[in-house]
Symmetry: C2
Subunit: 347 residues, 2 copies
């Protein structure tokens, strides 16, 4: 009769049920629990014949090592927290899909957190700590002391399209400044002179980068654009265009929206409300290169972020830092690709 630690009659009732432990497998295979444990770790010292025998028993019992027990002793949970502020944004689902698949492929599970508002971050951090995640990828605005909490706990993080302000943090970003410069340069070259900008909320890092870059390069050409502040959503594009038309007395050549969703809203408004031909009477550009931007009805002129490469970099950098703690907080900047589209006349 075995000593103990054998699982009781299976709760689920069925054979090959749920509760099998390494002790159950050990008994069935006629080996010790240690052997079972070793059979499931690559590189462990175990005879091939023994491992095979154990694997057969494990399969018969439907045994899978308990990640909680394993995580407790190894201090590696294989969990990565992914924090995304606003999932209903058109851009993030694509990012999330890429991150999830790549992390999965590397043996990590995704613990997803989404925020209804940025103020919930502190609360959310309190939900992350108990799970002892191996690392985190964060597409939300972290304050310095929040970054520091990760650093203090030794949890590597990668900021996505954000940077640490005071506290150093590794990050992956799309180069907003040069992307926006490209757009402005082309618009100027095509002869546009009266600009409106539909900007994002002030608490968005990339939003402000794009806005600053656009203003700076327009200023260099002696142009002062009209500016409207929206919320990065489609509706803000509509409202933004109305506001700009009013502010400029209808005399606009070009509208720069700091993301695609707003650019699309502005296009629909320009056509539907003001009956303007795009790009003949008004050029509109966006930023991101989301799916709908390429749709036939829009063919938006925009900067496409290299999402796949960025996600790949974020995951690779994170895993490097998990494997080898204490690396320097590197920042990687990716250039965007100009999608010419048909919503703007470019030079």
């Amino acid at each position: 009769m075995p000593k103990k630690k054998l699982s009781e009659a299976v709760p689920g009732g069925g054979p090959g049920g749920s509760g099998a432990t390494s002790y159950d497998v050990a008994e069935l295979a006629g080996v010790s629990q240690s052997a079972v444990s070793r059979a499931f770790r690559t590189g462990a010292s175990i005879a091939p014949k023994t491992r095979e025998k154990i694997m057969r028993a494990a399969k018969q019992l439907g045994y899978q090592p308990n990640a909680f027990a394993r995580g407790l002793i190894t201090r590696r949970t294989n969990l990565v927290a992914v924090v995304i502020s606003n999932l209903t944004n058109l851009y993030y689902p694509e990012v999330l899909a890429e991150l999830t698949q790549r992390l999965s492929a590397q043996g990590h599970r995704v613990l997803l957190f989404s925020l209804a508002s940025e103020s919930e971050i502190d609360e959310m951090l309190g939900l992350i700590w108990p799970y002892r995640v191996d690392g985190a990828i964060i597409a939300a605005r972290l304050k310095d002391d929040q970054i520091r909490q990760f650093n203090d706990r030794g949890i590597p993080i990668i900021l996505y399209n954000r940077v640490g302000e005071g506290e150093p943090a590794a990050s992956v970003c799309c180069d907003s400044a040069s992307g926006e410069r490209e757009l402005v340069r082309n618009l100027l070259a095509a002869g546009h002179r009266r600009f409106g900008i539909i900007a994002g909320p002030q608490d968005s890092y990339v939003g402000e980068e794009r806005l600053d870059s656009a203003r700076r390069h327009l200023a260099a050409a002696g142009i002062e654009p009209f500016i409207y502040r929206g919320g990065f959503d489609y509706h803000s594009g509509d409202e933004g265009l109305r506001a700009l038309m009013e502010a400029s007395g209808g005399a606009l050549d070009a509208v720069i929206a700091t993301n695609d969703a707003m650019a699309l809203g502005a296009m629909d408004c320009a056509r539907g409300v003001y009956d303007l031909a795009i790009p003949q009477q008004l050029s509109i550009v966006g930023f991101d290169g989301v799916g709908p931007a390429t749709w036939g009805g829009y063919q938006l002129t925009t900067i496409r972020q290299p999402v796949r490469r960025m996600a790949e970099a974020a995951v690779d950098m994170l895993i490097e830092r998990i494997e080898q703690p204490g690396m320097i907080p590197e920042q990687r900047l990716f250039g965007g690709e100009l999608l010419p589209g048909r919503s703007a006349r470019l030079g």
Copy 2:
């Protein structure tokens, strides 16, 4: 001098570091580890004064109970697996956002799995088991034996817009049949007679439901529609419309797409390629009620799924089953709302 189990010098180095355990807190507060444990469980037998003292010590050390240790002993992980086949679909991000927020609010964390293809499901299940999730919400096509694996392990699941075929399973669905019937009835009442259907892939449950319903109700009026099979994405709408125009010799009154993305693709194609006025020359309807469907350029006539209510139901049903195992596999069907839009003439 305390016996043992006190964490060593903090790895992170800083004070209030990461590795604090209940033993550390116990020592600082001058109580036993049991007391610390009880302080963090509501309803446990502990004096308010003691708890307060412990909480103060815990805060000072930055202590948070280790979810892995807790989960190991309680057999409750507070993890819920959310499986979504195709995140880049326009519809699912909204669902995911709702599910995540509601689960969070109920004290559950989301372990996210996304699939590049449905064939990966078995592989993915192997990644779920080790984490001993309390339950799962699944928006992917599960085969009966896959559902049975959950049942055998006693893990409650809720299928989202899917049903179990042989194996019983709780599910939350939007009523495809009556939504589609509503659309067809209105289109018929407005005098449409030559129909095309842009359907989804055959392995989609809701896709087939919608297709069947549309065909049945058209057949009842003696109408045999042209049918094209697409992949539920925007591009399929474009291809679908071209195929239908060709098949029908250009003589179409109405196009029924079984989701919005394809309907939008068809609209752009109808306008851009065939120069048709919508809805005057061609009516197009979709299904889902995704964000872009309401955009000014489209104003798609469609059926909006009550995503919030459905997500709420899914979460509530799941939690019921977690708290109280062995409930009957209930199926909940939600009616969709007809968004009249402007892409179809309705009767």
